[in-house]
C-alpha cells in the first residue's frame, strides 16, 4: 500500500519519528533508528563538558535520515530562535522542532512563545515543527505563522500516559487541513501510537518509551508496527462504537432441538 506523505517539502514513507534522547548507548540508538524505519529523528543542542571528550551523536544517525534539532532548554521565543540559528549556521540544515518550556515539573509548552518563534523562524526559511498544547486557535495561528506541521502533545513529556488529550487532538485533526498533524509526547505504548493514527494523525513522534525499553531495538519496531496498523485502520475506516451488541453470526437457521 503506497501511502507516502509530504512534510516540509520532503516525501516520507515512514510515519514514525523517533527522538534520540535517553538511549543507553549511541549504538543502541543507531540500531533502534534502523529497526524503526524512521526517516526523521530529533536531536538537542547543548553546551559541551569542557573536561570530557565525547563522540559525535550525528555520526550514529543512519545516512539519509532527516535530522531535526529541537529547541529544548529554550524558555522563550528568542532563545528558541537562537538555537535554531546556531544549528543552521553550523551547517546542520533548517529543520527545527520548536519546544519552548518554562515549567520544569510538567514540561508544558508555552503556546504564545511557540507562535512567536514559529513566525520568526518560518520567515527565515526554516522548516518549523512546533510542539504545542492542543488548542485549536493556537494550531490555526501556527499554520498562519508558517509551521510545516502542528505537533500537539498526547500527554506530558516522558509520562507514557498516551492520548490524554485525545478529544482536543481530534478537533485539531478535523479542523486543520493545511499541514500534517504529528502527535508528540507521552506516547508510551505501540497501542497509543496506533490510537493516534486511528484518529487521523499524520505521524507520531516518540522517544522515551523506545529509549528506556529493556530492548529498545525491538520496541522501536513494535512502535513502527503500531503506527502502520493505526494508519491502515484509519484509511480502511473503523466501524462505529455501539452501546449494545450486534451479532457477527447470522441470527437465522439456529440448530435448536425442537
Amino acid at each position: 500500500m503506497e501511502d507516502n506523505f509530504i512534510l516540509g517539502g520532503k516525501e516520507f514513507t515512514s510515519r514514525f519519528f523517533l527522538g534520540t534522547g535517553k538511549f543507553g548507548s549511541k549504538e543502541a540508538m543507531r540500531q533502534a533508528i534502523r529497526s524503526s524505519g524512521s526517516q526523521l529523528v530529533t536531536v538537542a543542542l547543548r553546551r559541551i563538558d569542557l573536561e570530557e571528550s565525547q563522540e559525535n551523536i550525528l555520526s550514529f544517525i543512519p545516512e539519509g535520515t532527516t535530522v531535526m534539532v529541537n529547541t529544548s532548554g529554550a524558555r522563550n521565543a528568542k532563545e528558541a530562535v537562537r538555537i535554531a540559528r546556531i544549528a543552521r549556521e553550523a551547517g546542520y540544515g533548517d529543520w527545527v522542532k520548536i519546544e519552548v518550556i518554562n515549567d520544569s515539573r510538567y514540561l508544558l509548552p508555552d503556546n504564545q512563545e511557540t507562535i512567536k518563534a514559529t513566525q520568526m523562524l518560518a520567515a527565515e526559511g526554516f522548516t518549523v515543527l512546533p510542539y504545542m498544547h492542543p488548542d485549536l486557535y493556537v494550531a490555526k495561528a501556527l499554520v498562519e505563522a508558517g509551521a510545516a506541521a502542528v505537533m500537539p502533545l498526547g500527554s506530558l513529556i516522558g509520562s507514557n500516559q498516551g492520548l490524554k488529550m485525545r478529544t482536543l487532538i481530534e478537533v485539531i485533526i478535523e479542523e486543520i487541513d493545511e499541514v500534517p498533524i504529528v502527535v508528540d509526547a507521552g506516547i508510551g505504548r505501540p497501542s497509543h501510537a496506533a490510537e493516534a493514527m486511528e484518529i487521523g494523525a499524520d505521524a507520531v513522534l516518540a522517544n522515551t518509551a523506545v529509549a528506556v525499553a529493556q530492548d529498545p531495538v525491538l520496541m522501536a519496531r513494535a512502535f513502527a508496527r503500531g503506527v502502520e496498523a493505526g494508519r491502515m485502520a484509519y484509511i480502511a475506516r473503523l466501524g462505529k462504537e455501539r452501546a449494545t451488541a450486534s451479532a457477527s453470526s447470522p441470527l437465522t437457521g439456529f440448530l435448536y432441538d425442537e
Partner: protein, 66 residues
C-alpha cells in the same frame, strides 16, 4: 585577558586565536560548534579569528533529545 566560555570566566593569553584556544583543551574539534558572541565561527576560520577581552564563547554540540 578574560573571556567567557560556556558562561564561565576563563583567562587566556592576549592575541589568542580560536584554533589555538580549542587545541589547548580536551575539546574534540570535530564535534564542537563554536559560537563567538552571537555567530557561529566555522572551523576553517578559527585560526584567523583572534579573541578579544570580554568575548563570549559558547562551545556546543548535538546530543540525544526528543
Amino acid at each position: 585577558m578574560k573571556i567567557m566560555v560556556n558562561g564561565r570566566e576563563v583567562e587566556v593569553a592576549g592575541g589568542m586565536d580560536l584554533g589555538r584556544f580549542i587545541n589547548s583543551g580536551k575539546v574534540n574539534p570535530e564535534r564542537v560548534i563554536l559560537v563567538l558572541n552571537d555567530g557561529v565561527v566555522k572551523s576553517d576560520r578559527w585560526t584567523q579569528t583572534i579573541l578579544s577581552e570580554g568575548d563570549r564563547v559558547e562551545l556546543v554540540s548535538f546530543v540525544g533529545g526528543g
